[in-house]
């Protein structure tokens, strides 16, 4: 069966390619680079490359990398998801209700991208293969301009300008850190206040009763005063001057003067 045979060789090629790639995933410049290399295993003109086969090879490559627990950048996984989608579009008959681009259009664009990247690689190589100044041809070794008159010319480029402007602009973003202090009831204040109050707290009283009147209304101020009053109470308990209790989670916290001592 020639078909089976084709399939087998394809699979073999894909396996070989995948193995070759997985060894050295670091060396690749992104998923397009991998696809370009995989497409070479098809040994055809890039214009006739089978995108379906390519998608399969790529998915195998990603699976293989996962199996070997090789860390793949997100780009590779995005491409894998996209190729899986493309594959399903290419395999399924086109849905007339579907408005998006057809599988063929998407495949043609990917083929174009690969061909363009390949073309740019070759162009870069040809460029670097050209004669270069300072290596193959040379400038005048001894310049002969005799200076007579000095003229000052001011030089500034766009980058200087931009950097100057950015400097001014970023200055605004970096104001020195300062805290908004007016809504903070400090622990020191709370302790001071509690020490004055505990003498009269012979009965159990709720934490909220100990807050200063002015700090009970605005939610921000109340939060701050509650926290610092509670912390001050703990401090006094530690010193053995107060008792504190709570029957269950979120139940009111109560405290009173420690009587015995």
């Amino acid at each position: 069966m020639p078909d089976d045979f084709m399939q087998e060789t394809n699979e073999l090629n894909a396996r070989l390619a995948a193995e070759a790639l997985v060894v050295d995933v670091e060396g690749f410049e992104g998923p397009l680079d991998v696809l370009l290399l995989l497409s070479r295993t098809q040994k055809v003109d890039l214009r006739q490359v089978s995108i379906l086969a390519l998608a399969e090879q790529y998915l195998i490559f990603v699976e293989e990398a996962k199996r070997l627990r090789i860390e793949l950048a997100a780009d590779y996984l995005v491409m894998a998801a996209w190729l899986a989608f493309l594959k399903s579009r290419l395999l399924l008959p086109p849905d007339p209700k579907d408005e998006g681009p057809s599988g063929e259009e998407l495949a043609a664009h990917l083929a174009f991208q690969l061909e363009r990247l390949e073309a740019m690689r070759k162009a870069a190589a040809r460029l670097m293969g050209r004669d270069q100044l300072g290596r193959d041809f040379f400038v005048r070794g001894q310049e002969e301009i005799y200076a007579r008159k000095r003229v000052v010319r001011f030089e500034a480029n766009l980058l200087d300008l931009m950097q100057a402007y950015a400097r001014i602009k970023t200055k605004d973003d970096f104001e020195p850190l300062s805290l908004q202090r007016d809504a903070v009831f400090t622990m020191e204040q709370a302790l001071e206040r509690m020490k004055g109050l505990i003498g009269e707290a012979i009965e159990w009283g709720e934490l909220m009763q100990f807050l200063p009147d002015a700090w009970r209304h605005d939610p921000k101020m109340r939060r701050s005063a509650t926290a610092s009053t509670f912390a001050a109470a703990l401090e006094l308990v530690k010193e053995g001057r107060m008792e504190i209790r709570q029957y269950q989670s979120f139940a009111p916290i109560e405290m009173r003067l420690k009587v015995d001592a």
């Binding site: 410049e29 680079d33 073309a119 740019m120 162009a123 004669d131 041809f137 040379f138």
Partner: protein, 210 residues
């Protein structure tokens, strides 16, 4: 206006042979390429530097030193086939990374090109240092903004780039005609990208000014 013309005729321009000598001396003495305007500013009044350059170029054809046109500028450079004699003058040409090579080629062949276009062609994001380094080498510079939504900045190659690779103009880049004919220099958006782009354009608009 008439006054000016009278003034000119008072100082007759030197004969063309003499003008050619002058341009020869000027360009020979300078390592940096000179523009037509720079040359003309140094020549006596009434000289035709363009014509003189034409004669000069012919005279040096096939010599060990050649008159080269680099963009809008001119310079003498040694003939490339004699590079093997110049080990002593050779400066170490920094080998660029593959990413830098590709980015440079893309800027040269697709210019003016935006950063997003470079990334689209390479299929990876352009790392911070790459464009920076090409700009620092003096091979790439900022071009005009693109007249597309968001008016993104573009990158183009410089005269220093042309000089380095012995190119008269970007149109002399190897294989550029074939690439263009094959449609490989087209900016072909991915199918179905129109919607995305419109959305992006709106975002870009915000980025324009801070």
């Amino acid at each position: 206006m008439i006054e000016e013309e009278k003034l000119e005729s008072l100082f007759e321009a030197p004969p063309m042979g003499e003008q050619e000598r002058m341009v020869e001396a000027l360009l020979f003495a300078s390592a940096a390429p000179m523009s037509l305007m720079e040359i003309e500013n140094r020549l006596p009044h009434g000289c035709d530097a363009k014509e003189a350059l034409l004669h000069l170029g012919k005279r040096y054809e096939g010599r060990g030193v050649a008159l080269r046109r680099i963009g809008d500028t001119w310079a003498f450079r040694t003939a490339a086939d004699l590079g093997f004699l110049m080990q002593k003058e050779q400066v170490e040409v920094r080998r660029l990374s593959r990413a830098a090579n590709e980015t440079l080629a893309i800027v040269a062949y697709h210019q003016p090109v935006t950063r997003a276009e470079i990334e689209e062609i390479r299929g990876v994001s352009v790392s911070r240092g790459t464009l920076d380094m090409l700009i620092e080498l003096g091979w790439v510079k900022l071009g005009r903004r693109k007249m597309t939504p968001g008016r993104p900045v573009t990158f183009i190659v410089t005269q220093v780039f042309l000089d380095h690779f012995g190119l008269e103009t970007p149109a002399d880049l190897p294989g550029i005609k074939e690439l263009r004919a094959a449609g490989l220099l087209d900016n072909r958006p991915p199918p179905g990208a129109l919607l995305d782009e419109a959305a992006e354009a709106v975002d870009d608009q915000d980025d324009m000014f801070e």
